[in-house]
């Protein structure tokens, strides 16, 4: 019987070997500085290993081959530069398509005077929504903005308490109902409170949900609709929180969440690990959703505005 798969022990060795030999191969290639088949498949392996996905990788590398041939580029370093450039362009195109003022609140026009800007935070279970809300709050506070939080995850055990702990730590009010309450009602009340207390931002925490759950995705739409009863322009931002360790399913997540609630951006979390978050390229290409922020740890200040250059460099480390 032809065996495609090796048994675990063997396999483990080969996996570690693949990684090691690839690195040595790449360095020796760079040293040789020669664009050959091995170099190309090395590039492909790097990208696939970073969760960029086979389809996106093959498309990227093929395009690169054509331009390298056309421009008679022979040095690997130059080809790598071209690839990085292309990767940055993919990410840059999103921001121009969907210019979003969130990371620059001073430039954002308040749609209706005295209404809070509403930021809806969505994503699958455990991606880092609640933690990111605490960090985002801190980020707005640093710009002298007043923030109020809505505990609209009424489903997960102790989700309300979790947000309340963060609220206390950063010193903002958290509007909450009982566990199991209607998340739309929480959002509605929170908006009223934010409006009455003249808050600049209302950030709404939602329960984690898998994008395949029809009813839960409908629930998100409903939260948005309820907010619109107060302010027809709300939510002003809907940010999808994506764990950097996510593989190709990330694209499916972005697709489905975008359908339920038009996304204005992504928050890419857990970049302090070894995952590269390469799926964002496929997301950017297909859906034009820009990355706004990154999460780099469990602490409140482990947070930064997104920088395409850094992410792209990270792929090749």
């Amino acid at each position: 019987m032809v065996s495609f798969f090796r048994r675990p022990q063997q396999l483990k060795e080969s996996l570690t070997k693949t990684r090691a030999s690839f690195l040595t191969r790449l360095t020796s290639l760079v040293a040789k500085n020669e664009v050959n088949e091995e170099f190309w498949s090395g590039l492909e392996e790097t990208l696939i290993g970073a969760d960029v996905g086979v389809e996106t990788t093959v498309a990227l590398v093929d395009k690169l081959r054509v331009s390298a041939e056309k421009e008679h580029v022979r040095e690997t370093t130059r080809v790598e530069e071209m690839l990085k450039e292309e990767l940055r362009t993919i990410l840059a195109q999103t921001t121009t398509v969907q210019q979003s003022p969130i990371s620059n609140p001073s430039a954002s026009l308040r749609t209706s005077l005295q209404s809070p800007r509403v930021v809806l935070i969505v994503g699958v279970n455990g991606s880092g929504k609640t933690t990111s809300i605490a960090k985002l709050t801190r980020y707005y506070q640093a710009q002298d903005k007043k923030v109020i939080l809505a505990a609209a995850d009424t489903f997960r055990a102790a989700a309300i308490e979790q947000l309340q702990v963060w609220g206390k730590r950063v010193g903002v009010d958290v509007v909450a109902h009982q566990p199991g309450a209607d998340p739309g009602a929480v959002a509605f009340d929170a908006w009223q409170a934010a409006h009455a207390r003249r808050a600049d931002y209302l950030i709404v925490d939602t329960a984690g949900r898998l994008q395949t759950k029809f009813n839960l995705m409908k629930e998100l739409e409903k939260i948005a609709r309820v907010l619109q009863k107060n302010d027809p322009t709300a939510p002003h931002e809907t940010l999808l929180v994506l764990d950097a360790v996510t593989g190709q399913n990330g694209l499916q997540q972005a697709r489905e969440f975008k359908k339920a609630t038009p996304l204005t951006g992504l928050i890419l979390t857990k970049l302090d690990g070894t995952a590269k978050g390469g799926i964002v390229f496929a997301i950017a290409k297909e859906l034009q959703v820009p990355i706004q922020f990154i999460g780099t740890g469990e602490g409140i200040d482990d947070w930064a505005e997104f920088d395409a250059r850094e992410l792209v460099e990270g792929l090749f480390e």
Partner: protein, 380 residues
Amino acid sequence: MRSLSPAQTVVKIVNEELIKTLGEPAKIDLSGEPPHVVMLVGLQGSGKTTTAAKLALQLRKHQQKPLLVAADTRRPAAIQQIQTLGNQLDIPVHSEGNTVPPPTICANAVKRASDGAYSVVLLDTAGRLHIDDELMRELEEVKTKANPQEVLLVVDAMTGQEAVRVADEFHKRVGLTGLILTKVDGDARGGAALSVRAVTGVPIKYMGVGEKTDALEQFFPERLASRILGMGDVLTLIEKAQATMDQEVAQKAAEKLLRAQFTFEDFLEQLQQIKKMGPLSQLLGMVPGLSQVTKDLPADVTDKQIKRVEAIINSMTREERQRPEVLNGSRRKRIALGSGTSVQEVNQLMSQFKQMQRMMQQLKSGRMRGILPNIPGLGL
């Protein structure tokens, strides 16, 4: 007996190997004297706390007396989370607040269970990164002090390529005895399970299939294998294939396919096989690699598309067909002209061909890490 097409053979063999690699269903180890200590570990957000509650419930159904332990002292309200779940299920939770170090909490919990009041102690540890040395050390200490008989890595089914590194590191530091795959109720293929299982060699014990506390299933390799291949009806298709094939012929076909240098001629043959095999819609995605190739083609014009592909390939010289790497810009232009297609179409075909070629090469060399991402949509 009709011979099995290469496509069917590939699927059949890949499926069999997947099942073999995924391993036998394994239950949680409750041998020896109670209390049995079970430790759950994993990355942040992978689903440890929910899984701990689900396991406790399931164990109680099997006449065990579980004790849940709140050993995540770091995440805000993690303790309340497990206490809430414990209350809902009426399962006691051992907690010492968030100022006592987790190894001490766990050791105390085991002591508490030792007088016979509890038969299983479930340690819910904080999520951590595999590269966080300090926290990994803490985990090692928990293990030393609580002496668990099961150390289960909780893995999110949506995890990508890093799954291998994560599992490897956890295994090195705390010696895993099993895996639990979570969020399997989503649409992730769960390819991560395969890599993690392969790299650690430990069995997959359960799958989490929902947010409710009873949504925990025993693991069945056949189901996960067909899910990984991305074909709900793969089993039926394979059975059908098995019923109509001559083992020996099939074997030969597969070996020939894998041994041969994969050229445009093979590519064409594959496409023709597919055409012969009946309704394309049913077969799209049946052959790893081919779902990519045929993905963009609407089912009803596929025959036409195949004709175009044939035309393109027929416009190639023999050399070009066997050594596609010689196809530079000017050759592609000539082929487009000769086949009445566009350079763009030729390029598209090239890229599809390359994906398939890559797939075949990987199959040949048996390098799993290479194979996985090449099974389209594997979900890695």
